[in-house]
């Protein structure tokens, strides 16, 4: 599990290898963001297993797309 922590702020950062379960628990806003991109984090009320990267690749997003998602999620995280 690659969850990075900023030394200065101790705020958790989102990485493409973050588990969807951790994303849902720690960054609940990401569920709506990813849903609007066509990526489901939740099905049958449960977080989907696997990493953010895996969920994106299943929907045929490219590495560049994933990089952009991660950047936007971290921006959203700062505002939440």
């Amino acid at each position: 599990m690659l969850i990075l922590y900023s030394i200065k702020t101790f705020k958790m950062l989102i990485d493409k290898k973050i588990l969807i379960e951790d994303l849902v628990d720690n960054f609940p806003f990401s569920v709506n963001y990813l849903s609007s991109q066509g990526i489901k984090c939740i099905a049958c009320g449960e977080p989907i297993w696997g990493t953010l990267e895996e969920a994106c690749l299943e929907k045929n997003f490219t590495s560049k797309d994933i990089q952009e998602f991660v950047r936007e999620l971290n921006t959203l995280s700062k505002n939440n």
Binding site: L19, E21, D22, I48
Partner: protein, 516 residues
């Protein structure tokens, strides 16, 4: 009726902070994350659970392997006797466990009782099955040889359950696995760990009374980072039974498939009711409303689509809207028996519901009723929604998906029953289906080889719910697994073919001569 939830928790042995790992009677201190379980009814925290670490998981699996060596030698009817006593114990705690199911998951108390009754029913079924684990005797082509097949215990069975049936699915699997001579490791839903703890505590007195070894019935509350891919990839577990989404099922199927293990996958459904011109419409409406809004649309078998012949479309549409208006005043706390529809499990499910409502409109559909998130007194948790009816087309992207919430799509068909069946089958999932008709030909076509492609195909019985006596499961993206009744017990066992030579000669099969 008012339920004192604190009394229920006390009766079931649930404290403020609970141990989350047990091998039967023993409970273990663990150092994993401490997670909390909240009620979707009022948003309040119910209790906390100490999760397992990888070391705890390793300890449990080793204990399970040791227990299997003992348990497999116990005669099946004796194993059945343990399951019989578990059923009796569940009867004793039925109301309390039902209340906790209701409080932690959000289904109405009546449905909570129905869920615990399913646990009791599968125990009864398994007791009978414990004396019926049979093989077949076949005719050997060789003289003085006997050829036969028998079923042997398999080993450790992993069980992953979902929040919507937090304890019944464990019972479906565990009761059969236990009489088959297997041992189980249960990973309950992270949304509903307390009902799992309560169940484990209920059965522990039976295990103690009968000296059942530690490791036969195991429970591990853990996050997927501790018990995720590593659990399903574990070669020490020959069978994984997983209930959840199609996405999770595909992941599990891939990982278990790589190690050539066995799976029972109970995944998503996109269940349809067909209403033909020959239907008993009042019966169809009554049944379908339960199918769409029961458990707030959070059953695998909830009705997602209603495929209606054009000649009765307006009649059915108007009746459905009228019925929903009546249901609208019966949304509220599931612990209050005057309500019929409770909350969704959490805010994420509410978001999924809202997303579906918006999507169907965006794709050209029309909302006929509901679709709002409820606010105000009694709805403070934010998890209550007004069940939604939408007119839609089967090919809409959102209609092709399973939304685990009370939204149902009305789809008009023209032509005959074959046209309706074609629409019904044209989704990725294949769990439950039904036709409402009094026409014998339509009914028989629906259940024929040219009919429904689902695991469950009913006539004048809705999609939602199933009896314990039949095998439960579905095809295509639903995963293909079968649990519960009929011959589902066989997946929990390994099939063995034996030939015994009781003669003095050594003839080879196919008459091969091999002298040396």
């Amino acid at each position: 009726m008012s339920i004192d939830i604190n009394k229920v928790l006390k009766t079931l042995g649930i404290s403020d902070v609970n141990k989350g790992v047990s091998t039967g009677q023993e409970w273990f201190e663990t150092k994993g994350a401490i997670t909390s379980s909240s009620s979707p009814i009022d948003g309040k925290e119910i209790a906390k659970v100490k999760n397992a670490t990888l070391d705890d998981y390793e300890m449990v699996i080793k204990k399970a392997q040791e227990a299997f060596k003992v348990w497999r030698l116990v005669p099946a009817p004796e194993r059945g006797e343990i399951v019989r006593q578990i059923g009796l114990e569940l009867r004793k705690y039925k109301d309390d466990l039902s209340a906790l199911v209701s409080y932690e998951m959000g289904k109405i108390f009546q449905e909570g009782k129905g869920e615990v009754q399913e646990m009791i029913d599968i125990c009864d079924f398994a007791v009978g099955q414990s004396r019926l684990i049979n093989g077949v005797s076949l005719q050997s082509e060789r003289r003085e040889h006997r050829l036969f097949e028998q079923y042997q215990p398999l080993g450790v069975v992993g069980i992953v359950t979902s929040f919507n049936f937090p304890v019944a699915v464990w019972a479906w699997n565990s009761a059969l696995a236990a009489i088959a001579g297997d041992v189980v490791i249960w990973k309950p839903s992270s949304k509903t760990p307390l009902t799992a703890l309560a169940t484990q505590k209920i059965i522990s007195s039976v295990l103690k009374k009968n000296n059942v070894p530690e490791g036969v019935f195991n429970l591990v509350v853990a996050k997927s980072s501790v018990m995720g891919d590593n659990f399903i990839a574990d070669r020490r577990i020959p069978l994984m039974s997983v209930t959840g989404s199609t996405a999770v099922g595909k992941r599990v199927g891939g990982i278990v498939g790589k190690r050539l293990g066995k799976t029972i996958l109970e995944l998503g459904g996109n269940n349809a009711v067909i209403i033909t011109p020959n239907a008993d419409i009042p019966m169809a409406i009554a049944s379908t409303v339960f199918g769409t809004v029961g458990t707030a649309g959070q059953r695998c078998t909830s009705t997602r689509r209603i495929i209606i012949h054009e000649s009765v479309y307006d009649q059915v549409k108007n009746s459905m809207v009228k019925a929903y208006k009546s249901v609208a005043s019966k949304i509220g706390s599931p612990l209050d028996e005057k309500f019929l529809v409770g909350p969704l499990i959490d805010e994420h499910s509410v978001n999924a519901f809202t997303h579906a409502v918006n999507s169907v409109e965006k794709e050209g559909g029309k909302i006929l009723f509901g679709g709002e998130v409820l606010e105000g007194k009694g709805f403070e948790s934010g998890n209550y929604v007004m069940p939604c009816i939408a007119e839609a087309k089967n090919e809409y992207e959102i209609v092709q998906e399973e939304t685990f919430a009370p939204i149902v799509y009305l789809i008009k068909y023209t032509g005959d029953i074959y046209d309706a069946i074609a629409i019904q089958n044209n989704v990725p999932q294949g769990l439950s289906s039904c036709v409402f008709t009094l026409n014998m030909r339509e009914a028989e076509i629906f259940v024929s080889s040219a009919g429904s492609d689902c695991g469950i195909a009913n006539v004048n019985v809705g999609t939602s719910g199933a009896e314990i006596g039949g095998a439960f499961g579905g095809e295509k993206d639903t995963g293909g697994g079968r649990e519960s009744g009929s011959d589902s017990w066989k997946i929990y066992m390994r099939r063995q073919t034996s030939t015994v030579n009781y003669g003095t000669e050594l003839p080879l099969a196919q008459g091969i001569n091999f002298e040396f």
